[in-house]
Every structure is written in C-alpha cells, then in structure tokens.
C-alpha cells in the first residue's frame, strides 16, 4: 500500500463512566478518512457511552481522543461539534415541540446562515420527506422520519465524522433500507462514519471495518468481511443458529 489514508479519529486507552461507575476500560480504536466503521456488541457493552465520550457528553477519566490531529479529549460537546464531530444520539433526542425546519436550523447552529441554507437543500435532497414535513413539529413525525431528521440535523453541522447510535432501532425494514441507502450515499460523497448498531449483520454488510465491544473494551477488530465470517462473531452477535441470510 502506497498512500496510507489519513487518520480522522484515534482513541487510545480511553476510560470513562458515570460517577464512580466505570464503563469504558481502555478503548483503542482508529477511523480513517472516508471509512465506514461499525461498532457492535451486546446491550450494555458501552457503545453509547463511547460515542458520548467522543463528543464530550461523558467526560473521559483517562486516555486520549485525537481528532484530525488535535487532542480533543477534554472538549465540551459544544466545542466538539465545532471541531467536526456530529452525533446522531441513541433515541434521536430531537427537539420535539419544534418544527422540522427549526430542528435543522438548530443542527446548523455552529454554521453561518449561508452554510445553513445550502445544507438545508442537501439534507432535503437526501431525505425529501423532510421537506414535505418542514413545518410539522418533530414529535408528530413517524419513527422513520424522526430518525431521518436526527441524521439530517447532525449533517447540518457539516461534520467531518458522523457518529450514529443505533439508527435502525425500532424501525420497519423498508425504512431501515432507506436510512442505510442514505448512509451509503454519504459515504460515497466521502463522509467518514462511525456506526453503532444492534443489528450486527446489517452493520457489517455496510461497513469497511468493525470493532466488537465487550464490557467496556474492544474484544475483536477487523475487516467487516472477516468479522462476518468469524465463528465467534457469527455465533454471538449474528444469531447464526437462526440460519443465514434471513436478515437484511
């Protein structure tokens, strides 16, 4: 390999938790420019905590986070967005009583007016239904539309790295397909993506590489195709005993 792709995110020995409860115990990971990396693992493994630590919602107690060459370990969330990290959080966390448009404008809070106008067009292009729902309040959207709005809101910040926490949760297969099609499109445009998913098969199908998390540390890492073929991963996370290929 001649030109190694640029590292966007590198995490070393990251520790974090809630109060005295330690959740992350020495996480090492790396995401290169243009990659779609997925993070899978059982419920409670600490995946959401890791994403929250990356954006500063949960302050790390040890280790370092480097982003685009800068140490961002202690950045508060409002600075992390400005640095180029945008999170689509677990449970979406939309501004329910506010309109779709206002949610999107808030997504562009760190951007100037011209950027926001341009980004609006781009996210409406990606999710046309949001344009139709523009003046509706976020709380009145369907689950799928809410998830699209959550992704769109994060994109409004024009991130260099998009973090997604279980975007498929509770959605119908057809809607999941739409969301993943959008992620593929974003990836094709060069966006770097770190995706946490409960549906490991789905995630590994779309990812370049994957990390498997177990009780606060990385248990396994590798190319997505290798993880899909790995016996342990198949057994534990892909439900191989149910037969293959049923899941889409």
């Amino acid at each position: 390999m001649s030109s190694e792709p640029k590292t966007v995110l590198s995490v070393e020995g990251l520790h974090a938790g809630y109060g005295r409860v330690a959740v992350l115990r020495g996480i090492d990971m790396r995401v290169a420019e243009g990659e779609l990396v997925t993070l899978i693992g059982a419920n409670g493994a600490g995946k959401s905590t890791l994403l929250k630590a990356l954006v500063g919602l949960v302050p790390p107690s040890g280790g370092t986070i480097r982003f685009l060459g800068n140490d961002i370990t202690r950045l508060r969330p409002e600075r992390a967005v400005r640095a180029g990290l945008a999170l689509v959080p677990e449970g979406r966390m939309l501004f329910g009583p506010m309109s779709v448009e206002e949610n999107l404008e808030l997504g562009g809070h760190v951007r100037d007016r011209a950027d926001t106008a341009e980004s609006l067009e781009r996210v409406f292009d990606l999710f046309p239904v949001l344009e139709e729902r523009r003046l509706q309040t976020a709380a009145t959207l369907s689950g799928g539309e809410q998830q699209m709005l959550a992704v769109a809101r994060a994109l409004m910040a024009r991130p260099r790295l998009l973090l997604l926490d279980e975007p498929s949760l509770g959605l119908a297969p057809k809607v999941i397909k739409e969301i993943f099609a959008a992620l593929e499109k974003l990836k094709a445009e060069g966006l770097t993506i770190l995706l946490v998913e409960q549906d490991a098969r789905l995630a590994l199908k779309h990812a370049d590489r994957g990390y498997v998390m177990r009780t606060g540390s990385i248990a396994l890492a590798g190319a997505a195709a290798d993880l899909l073929a790995d016996d342990d991963v198949r057994l534990i996370y892909l439900g191989a005993w149910h037969g293959e290929g049923e899941n889409t």
Binding site: E78, R82, F95, L106, H109, M156
Partner: protein
C-alpha cells in the same frame, strides 16, 4: 356593586397582575434553562426599585436614566449571581441549586439593607400624578406605565424567543439540554442569559411599581411568592402561560377584595399555590432531566 366599581377592581387586578406576570416570567425563564425555581426572583424585583431609587436620589440621575440604570444593574446582579453561585455547582443538582437561590435571596436582601438602610424609599411618578377616566373608573397614569411596560416586555420577549437565533437556542435548551449541547449550543451561556433576563424583568416590575408603593429591602419575598404562584398557575411551561397566570392571579386578588375582604388578598396566592400543589404534588420544584420526543 355597580359596573364602574367593578371596572375599578378589574383595572387594579390588571395592574397587580402585570407585576406578577413580569416576576412569573422570570421564574419561567430560569426554570426552562435550569429546571429549578429561583427563589431569589423576588429580590430582583426589590433591587429594580431600590437601585433605581439609588441612581435617582443618591446619584442624582434624571428619572428615565435612573430607571435604566436600576434595571441594567439588577440584570448584572442576576448575571453575577449565576456565574458566581449557580454555575459553581457543576452537576446542576436541582435541590442544591434551589438551596443556592434561597441563600442568594437572603444575601441580596441583607446587602440591600446594609447599603440602602432599613427604611422605605420613594421614587417620583413617571409622568406626574394624573389619571384618566375609563367609563367612569379611574386609571392612574402610573398604572398605564405599568401596563405599557409589561406589554412591551412581553412583546420583546416573544420576539426574542420566536424570531431570533438566541431565543431558538434557549428554547432548544429547555426542551432537551443534551440535544442542545450536541448541536453546539453553549447551555451554560443560555443559563446566564436566562438569569440576566429574569433579573431585568423582575427589576422592571419593581421600578414601575415603586412610585406607587415605595420600596424597601424586604419587599422581595411577598412579590416572589406571588410571581411563583402565578408561574405555577400557568404551569411553569411557557412564557405566555406565565403572563396569563400573573393576570389571573391579579384578578383573583381583586375579586377577593371586591366580594370578600381585603384582609384575604395576600392569602389568594398561597391558596393558588396550595391548590396547584394539591393537584400536582410532584414536579413543581424540579423536573426530570430526561425528556424524550
């Protein structure tokens, strides 16, 4: 009771009600940003009058300028109180913050007593002692000032909330703090801004009323309780409801004077408070931090 007499009570209710509305707006703003009741809100009302008197009588500034100084200085006190006390409580624990505001209230009134003395202090009427007749009822010019300034403050606040980026960020913060943070809103700054605004609104009320009632270091708590009652009457949720709560409380007081006795006027706010507490026993002082769509 005749129609004219009734109208007179309505006008008095509107006058007091708009004062409660301004104080209630302060409660609502701070509650939206922090999830706690600011028990120092009544002191902002006291300081608004007191600092205006100080600027007028002690500094010798002309009345309009003195009023401006009173309101701005109180806003500054509100900001400093937030930066120096509220913000220092890093985890934002609601109970701790409530205790801080109670302590802050005591500190502010003792400081006022120390600096400005224990006596009542007057301020001249804004534009003389005239009055106009409204269908036979007497409307004092100062009351017109009170109603006008309240209306102006409400419209200004509405504009800020619904037509500016700052207002949108404040609303976002009230809906979901973590969501606000991840889109890049400095939620601590929003808390500071809320204290500045709440202090200014309370101060405006104190300034507008002082020409009619005079002011003293200890006028805060009574008005604070009434503003609080008005705010929870409106559900603590949104500014419009706070204004409505204030006006309703003012009217209730007026009606009670008209039909029962003025002895019970001050009890109305407490009855309202107890009534709301009775219907909605939890969730008055603090709110859950986890809110979903």
């Amino acid at each position: 009771m005749g129609g004219t007499e009734l109208l007179q009570f309505v006008l008095a209710g509107l006058k007091n009600g708009s004062i409660y509305a301004l104080v209630a707006l302060g409660f609502t703003l701070i509650y939206a940003a922090t999830g706690v009741i600011n028990f120092a809100q009544g002191e902002f009302y006291m300081l608004g009058g007191m600092l205006s008197v100080w600027a007028y009588a002690d500094l010798g500034l002309p009345l309009p300028l003195a009023g401006l100084v009173g309101v701005m200085a109180t806003a500054a006190v509100g900001g400093v109180f937030e930066l120096g006390a509220i913000r220092q409580r890093k985890d934002g624990d609601p109970l701790a913050l409530i205790v801080i505001t109670v302590g802050g209230s005591m500190v502010l009134s003792s400081m006022a007593r120390h600096l400005f003395g224990p006596n009542e202090r007057p301020l001249p009427l804004f534009s003389g002692g005239g009055s106009v007749s409204v269908f036979g009822a007497v409307l004092e010019v100062q009351t017109i000032w009170i109603l006008g300034l309240t209306a102006l403050a409400v419209v200004g606040l509405w504009y800020l909330y619904n037509r500016t980026g700052l207002g949108r960020a404040m609303r976002a913060c009230a809906v979901n703090r973590d969501a606000a943070r991840i889109v890049g809103i400095d939620t601590r700054l929003m808390v500071t801004v809320s204290f500045l605004l709440a202090a200014a609104l309370g101060a405006l009320a104190g300034l507008a009323v002082t020409p009619l009632t005079q002011t003293a270091f200890d006028v805060g708590p009574t008005v604070g309780i009434k503003g609080f009652a008005a705010a929870i009457l409106g559900g603590l949720g949104n500014p419009i409801a706070a204004v409505v709560g204030g006006l309703v409380l003012g009217m209730l007081e007026s009606v009670s004077i008209a039909f029962i006795s003025s002895t019970y006027k001050d009890a109305i706010a407490l009855i309202v408070l107890l009534g709301v507490l009775f219907v909605r026993p939890q969730g008055i002082l603090g709110r859950s931090r986890r809110e979903k769509v």
